[in-house]
């Protein structure tokens, strides 16, 4: 099954919608709580990244009995130095965004830690794509 959720850059008010929808589906599938938590953390962090940094984006969710794949494609400034962005505590978030409690520089490293497969590609001035896969039966993860 596949779903699409549009994300508006700068709209912090509505951030978290996709996470809530996906969370309900995983509960319906009786996925273990610890795995649901990892999916939701990845998705929420990634969604907020788009809201905080990009102009707009689309979340593509693909779900089967064993995996969930989250592909987040945004149109935005892109990331010039991915290894730097992957460091804990690094953030280009504006002071306004930080004031709202976002932009602590934990987003990308946190996503990677919670994902079973993680891939990031980015083109400056075009946008960033995150590809996250989480296994739905891997309790050891």
């Amino acid at each position: 099954m596949s779903f699409e959720y549009k994300v508006e850059g700068g709209d912090f008010t509505h951030a978290g919608y996709a996470s809530s929808q996906v969370k309900k589906m995983l509960k319906q599938l009786d996925v273990d709580n610890s795995i649901i938590k990892r999916v939701v953390v990845c998705l929420y962090e990634a969604e907020v990244n788009i809201v905080a940094h990009a102009y707009s984006g689309i979340i593509y969710v693909t779900l089967d009995t064993d995996n969930i794949n989250l592909k987040l494609v945004d149109k935005g400034p892109g990331i010039p130095d991915i290894p730097l962005a992957m460091q804990k505590g690094f953030s280009t978030a504006s002071p306004e965004v930080r004031e709202m409690g976002f932009g602590a520089g934990m987003g990308l490293p946190n996503i990677k830690e919670n994902a079973d497969k993680f891939n990031i590609t980015s083109e400056v001035a075009i946008g960033t794509t995150l590809d996250i896969t989480i296994l739905l039966n891997n309790l050891a993860g």
Binding site: Q28, L29, D30
Partner: protein, 464 residues
């Protein structure tokens, strides 16, 4: 059939229910459906919050209670009274008077539930020191919230502060102190005057507990009416008698919003009202909210002052209790009521009773099936069916939303043709005879709703 998860205190009286569907629309866990013109409860989904009871315009939803005469099966008859009972009466009515009325009804001892909080404060403090526990710790005080988390937010079960409510500890104390003064356990009846349905359900089938020290429950509205009547005819009642009031200011307001959280160190929050609680838990579950140490959650606005079995206005009740708390003078002696040793003297005994002993288990209401393949098939089917529904949540199918109808269909609790929009389409395509469509409508809403009735609320000759 899945095993019944919960005992419920709420019952729908089919002889009174008009199938107006108001309860179905307000139920926060979508646990109600209309069939044959009557409301029906999906028991595994109900958390006993009592919202339906509050809204029912014809009082068809009742809250079970024990037969009052049962108190006389016991030699020692304890009334465990929450402070919100007192808060319902004007300031001129003293706690001693209220207690005297209860005694005139047959109780031998009237004891305030909130005394139990004395044993809880140090237990929370101790739990907060355990750094390995998840944060925030969520209070297990409100039984409707405990059940809500079980069915809707199972991932947060591990956050529960596994500490009993003041009620249980007060009951343990009463039993123990009476035993120490020569009573046998079998001679003691401990009756709780409950402000809500959730507390009854929690007493009758405690979550995370095997036995309860509470013998029975009596609904607070029943007691309120008895007291109001007696106070009105005060002349014949005479002197109020003596009732030493030994609650401390902080325990007196324990059942109000922030009554509990205010006593806990660190960053604490108190949230009341079912919808507020759900909104917050949703964000907490997503890790959108972090950095909170202790969370007090109450199903009712204004905490227990908003309990469904209270008769007075919740804001006045809360105000009165807060005023009373401000005016409490420090107790002269540590002696408790009836000249018994006070609850603080049983600190060590209660310390052994304060923790919830059994694991609180998740009871997911969302789960389609434990078999992943089957659950996936059901989910796919429900989403495919959703394509055909209008998304207007009109409720004409007898379910609170289009979403809940398709989920009912895949759970084999309903048919897609229950949807009036779907039936219309089927008629247009020659797949359904209009007569069949009408009979489905009658099946859901009952024959009587299709008859002219000028006695109904708002009609020409309104009469109940």
């Amino acid at each position: 059939m899945e095993k019944k998860f919960f005992h419920h205190a709420l019952t729908i009286r089919e002889d009174i229910c008009t199938g107006c569907s108001l309860c179905m629309r307000v139920c926060p866990t979508e646990a109600l459906r209309i069939k044959d013109g009557k409301a029906h409860l999906i028991e595994d989904q109900c958390v006993d919050c009592g919202e339906c009871f509050r809204q029912c315009p014809v009082h068809a939803i009742i809250i079970e209670q024990d037969d009052f005469s049962r108190i006389f099966d016991y030699k020692y008859r304890v009334a465990l009274v929450p402070a919100v009972l007192h808060g319902q009466f004007k300031h001129e009515v003293s706690i001693a008077e209220i207690s005297a009325v209860l005694k005139s009804l047959g109780f031998t001892w009237v004891y305030e539930v909130e005394h139990g909080a004395e044993a809880i404060k140090p237990a929370i403090e101790e739990l907060m020191k355990v750094r390995t526990l998840p944060r925030p710790l969520i209070s297990a005080y409100c039984p409707a919230v405990v059940r809500l988390i079980q069915v809707k937010y199972p991932a947060l079960i591990r956050n529960f502060a596994t500490i009993k409510a003041p009620l249980e500890l007060a009951a343990f104390y009463c039993r123990r102190v009476l035993r120490d003064n020569g009573a046998h356990n079998a001679e003691i009846g401990v009756f709780y005057v409950t402000p809500c349905a959730a507390k009854i359900a929690a007493v009758k089938s405690p979550v995370g507990e095997e036995t309860t020290p509470i013998t029975g429950v009596i609904n607070m509205d029943f007691i309120f009416n008895k007291i109001s009547r007696t106070l009105r005819n005060k002349g014949e009642f005479g002197a109020a008698g003596d009732h030493p009031f030994t609650l401390s200011p902080s325990t007196l307001v324990w059942s109000l919003t922030n009554g509990e959280a205010a006593n806990v160190e660190g960053r604490t929050m108190a949230i009341d009202g079912m919808n507020n609680v759900m909104e917050f838990l949703d964000k907490l579950e997503n890790d959108e909210i972090t950095g909170i140490d202790y969370l007090e959650l109450r199903a009712c606005d204004e905490g227990c002052a908003g309990g469904v079995l209270l008769s007075a206005n919740r804001f006045l009740v809360a105000e009165r209790l807060r005023n009373k708390a401000r005016n409490i003078k420090p107790a002269k002696s540590k002696k408790g009521d009836n000249d018994m040793p006070g609850i603080v003297e049983y600190h060590d005994y209660l310390k052994g009773k304060v923790r919830i002993s059994e694991e609180i288990k998740p009871r997911s209401m969302y789960r389609f099936s434990v078999d992943r393949d089957k659950a996936m098939k059901m989910m796919k089917r429900s989403r495919r069916l959703m394509c055909f529904l209008p998304g207007t949540d009109c409720g004409a199918c007898g379910a609170p939303s289009c979403q809940s109808l398709v989920e009912d269909v895949v759970r084999r609790r309903a048919n897609i043709s229950d949807c009036i929009f779907v039936r219309q389409l089927m008629i247009e395509h020659g797949k359904l005879h209009p007569d069949t469509s009408h009979s489905i409508m009658r099946k859901i809403w009952g024959e009587s709703n299709f008859e002219k009735n000028c006695n109904k609320k708002g009609a020409e000759n309104e009469s109940n």
